[in-house]
């Protein structure tokens, strides 16, 4: 199917100024370009979790699987293993992917399954109205932590580098062109691609000024150098001061899980024969 309108008629309910608009727009442009290049979108599937970010599944007019809170990645893994021709993109929240479903994220990186994970990292639970997440800064005052959090944030970029992700990047919802480039690279990448997108939450965590003073582009960095990638990732710990690098931290080519795991199918007749052979071995 070509020439489709990429936005559904579903009513959009993101807050004015929400960074999700930028993420959706960037993704839409990447998809449109893909169509222009003559590639059908019929083989693209978007998997979303549950949260404000996840509404993108209703808004983008492509195949989608609106999954459970925290459970984008296992669904995406199943889709990819079932049909390796699919291009599978996860749109996750930070609560979704770094709290509820963290185990899946680490394992997806470890396996190098060929999917793209975009984390809408607004550093707050948006949909449940403003609790802290794993990337909220130390002392964050949310509705469940009115006196401020007592735990330091985790650094997802560092975590993904340590877990074996082969494409690791960070974007920012106020840097549309860069975001578009990162999405395109991630989707083209053969292997597990991870992008942490610093997303402005206009209602619960509007920190554009803070980001504005700190962000810089990773221009003179070699993405093949894992040690350098770690060093860049550690410049900012998602809490205090420090410069915030944007762009591609790491890139490597490694065999993918889907290449290694998917079995060569057998015909029904071959299978019935195999069943009979197995039974004869048990006689």
């Amino acid at each position: 199917m070509t020439g489709r309108d990429l936005i559904t008629p579903a009513q959009n309910t993101w807050c004015p100024g929400c960074g999700n608009f930028t993420i959706q727009h960037a993704l839409k442009r990447v998809l449109a370009k893909r169509e222009e290049d003559g590639k059908s979108l019929d083989n693209v599937v978007l998997v979303s979790g549950i949260g404000c970010h996840a509404k993108i599944a209703d808004y983008l007019n492509i195949n989608s699987f609106y999954s459970l809170h925290g459970r984008t990645i296992p669904v995406a893994t199943g889709l990819k293993l079932a049909n390796p021709d699919l291009t599978v993109i996860c749109c996750c929240g930070d609560g979704d992917c770094y709290a509820e479903g963290l185990d899946h994220l680490i394992f997806a990186a470890k396996r190098n399954i060929d999917i793209t994970v975009i984390v809408h990292d607004n550093r707050v639970y948006g949909l449940t109205t403003g609790q802290y997440t794993p990337t909220s800064p130390l002392g964050f005052k949310g509705r469940s932590t009115p006196l401020g959090t007592s735990e330091s944030p985790l650094n997802p970029v560092e975590l993904m580098l340590a877990s074996g992700a082969t494409f690791v990047a960070r974007g920012y919802s106020k840097k549309m062109p860069q975001l578009e480039g990162l999405f395109q690279g991630a989707i083209r990448h053969r292997g597990f691609a991870f992008i942490d997108v610093l997303q402005i939450c206009a209602t619960f965590f509007p920190v554009a000024d803070y980001y504005g003073e700190r962000v810089y582009d990773l221009a003179d960095h070699d993405p093949g150098d894992l040690s350098a990638a770690f060093w860049r990732a550690r410049e900012w710990d998602y809490s205090g001061e420090g410069k915030i690098a944007l762009g591609q931290f790491f890139l490597a080519e490694r065999p993918t899980f889907d290449d290694r795991v998917v079995a060569t199918p057998r015909t029904a007749a071959e299978r019935e024969q195999a069943v009979r052979d197995i039974l004869s071995g048990r006689t």
Binding site: I50, S67, P74, V75, T77, G78, N83, V275, I278, S280
Partner: protein
């Protein structure tokens, strides 16, 4: 003698289960229908293990073992001490010379191994040979069974077996039985073959006893079956991966036991809402919580029927033995896809890890339905509201359509809605599938009657208890009624099967009589219960005693 029981006991790590399997194969080739039950604690080394192998002249696997043993093969002293009460006056006891003190015939395992310069692992072959001679089994049968089932070091194993065969006296000859040799399969493997015949594309599972055998079996056979097998990070990932497969038109099944299934319930509810088929092998063990990992139970019937938030149709079948497990696993997978619902194969340790003589059932699935795509006009609606409740399926990757799968309440396109009318209409649509499911079940034997079919007193049971109830019911002249399908509850078929029964006794391996409760909810009266919940299966003796107390 047309009913023979052999007990093989030893320490964990002694290879008791494989020794038991060899005994089972000897009886199989002698013409008996066999059942083997392996009793082991949850540990790797040390501790006492035993298998009981029973062979009967009946055409079907007995599916249950008695409390007495005709042959006791003691590889350790604990076997003699713990199973002494199983010996009858004419039972035969073979024991390891030098290691065990007992009254019986000593098998000089050490001496034989030394003479044959054989490694210690071949010690069990000496026992098998000794048993064969004690039971008067022809050497040709021993030779054939070793050649078929011990492919490595066959000749040396045979020399070890022969050496023992020559030293032991025949004291309890077991005559040839009437049956041809048949495949021996455990319940987990039977479920696997049934799923394969139903068209399974992928099996996804996280290890948990007593379901793990299916994971091991299918992983081992994945290449020749053309099956993708995945062992992910946890059971939550397991069920969600399976739903990912389903959304891409691949038939997936998962397997677990109670604790793992607890983790799957949110994903199960998603399957219900998103209308994605998935088959779950739920193999029960003694609960609650970690319970007795390697022992049996039937305490998760209510859990499986009710698991998951919200209301949605599902299929739950509980086969009683391996042959039935093959047939119903194919059907469960077929029906899950036909009706776009989750389906369960509910087993327990007794069935999952018990080994049975099986007869491969005919593949009785109806021809696959068309995928219905022709019928759709206008933009594709994943959740089109149809009279049957079943929406024509399409999948991610289908050319020309956009497929939106959704866990939220959604409209026919799969777009999230909070509209009350749409929500109620879609709820009705999903529940209508239960009626369609019932129609699709009509051609199958959903309720099985055995024992004395016209008796006024009926035993009501389910799952693996079917075998022991049939045997005991036949002996005591009781009607045995067993629903194989437990959800949707086959109310009218059960009523028909119980027609004329003036007394109904539920026999279950749980403490609260869960099937009796379901029957009661459906207006079927149960007058008494016989329950066992110590992790051990009923034996024919114990069940007969307790049934006599209530009839």
């Amino acid at each position: 003698m047309d009913d023979v029981t052999v007990l093989v006991g030893g320490k964990a790590g002694d290879g008791i289960n494989s020794a038991g399997t060899m005994v089972a194969q000897l009886l199989n080739h002698l013409g008996y229908s066999v059942y083997l039950n392996f009793d082991y604690p949850s540990l790797i080394r040390g501790g006492h293990n035993f298998t009981i192998i029973r062979g009967t002249a009946a055409p079907k696997s007995p599916g249950t073992c008695g409390e007495k043993a005709d042959f006791l093969l003691a590889l350790d002293q604990a076997t003699v001490e713990q199973h002494n009460n199983r010996l009858k006056p004419d039972s035969v006891l073979l024991y390891t010379e030098g290691l065990v003190k007992a009254n019986g015939q000593a098998v000089p395992v050490k001496e034989i191994l030394t003479t044959e310069q054989a490694p210690a692992v071949m010690g069990n072959s000496a026992f098998i040979g000794g048993f064969a001679r004690a039971a008067g089994i022809d050497w040709e049968i021993v030779d054939l069974v070793f050649r078929r089932h011990i492919p490595k070091g066959t000749d040396q194993n045979l020399r070890v077996a022969r050496s023992a065969y020559d030293r032991i006296a025949t004291v309890r000859p077991v005559p040839r039985g009437p049956n041809p040799p048949r495949p021996l399969l455990n319940g987990n493997e039977a479920v696997g073959l049934g799923l394969i015949r139903g068209g399974l594309d992928a099996y996804i599972s996280y290890p948990m006893t007593p379901s793990s055998g299916l994971l091991h079996f299918l992983a081992g056979e994945s290449e020749r079956l053309g099956l993708t097998v995945v062992h992910p990070e946890n059971e939550i990932a397991v069920i969600l991966m399976a739903l990912g497969f389903a959304a891409a038109k691949k038939r997936a099944a998962v397997g677990t036991s109670g604790g793992g299934f607890c983790l799957m319930t949110e994903g199960l509810s998603l399957a219900g809402m998103a209308e994605l088929p998935v088959v779950t092998l739920m193999s029960q063990r003694t609960g609650p919580s970690t319970g007795l990992p390697t022992y049996t139970g039937q305490a998760d019937l209510r859990f499986v029927i009710h698991a998951g938030q919200g209301e949605f149709p599902r299929l739950v079948v509980a086969p009683s033995d391996a042959s039935e497990a093959i047939a119903w696993s194919s059907r469960a997978l077929d029906l899950a896809w036909r009706c776009q619902v989750p389906a369960f194969i509910l087993t327990d340790k007794t069935l999952s890890e018990g080994t049975y003589s099986i007869d491969l059932p005919d593949r009785d699935l109806p021809v696959p339905g068309g995928d219905g795509m022709e019928a759709v006009e206008g933009p594709y609606q994943r959740y089109a509201d149809t009279p049957s409740g079943i929406s024509p399926p399409a999948f991610a990757g289908t050319a020309g359509v956009i497929v939106k799968v959704n866990s939220y309440a959604h409209d026919e396109y799969g777009i999230t809605t909070e509209d009350g009318e749409v929500t109620a209409a879609m709820t009705k649509k999903r529940l209508r599938k239960a009626e369609t499911l019932k129609k699709n079940l009509e051609s199958y034997p959903q309720v099985v009657v055995s024992g004395a079919p016209d008796a006024a007193t009926a035993v009501l049971c389910w799952g693996s208890c079917g075998s022991v109830c049939t045997e005991t019911g036949t002996r005591l002249g009781l009607r045995v009624v067993r629903p194989v399908v437990l959800e949707p509850f086959p109310k009218s078929l059960l009523e028909a099967a119980l027609a004329g029964a003036t007394r109904v006794i539920a026999v279950e391996e749980n403490a609260t009589a869960q099937l009796a409760g379901l029957a009661h909810e459906n207006g079927i009266r149960v007058h008494d219960t016989v329950l066992r919940y110590d992790g051990r299966p009923f034996t024919p003796e114990d069940l007969a005693l307790r049934l006599r107390g209530v009839i």
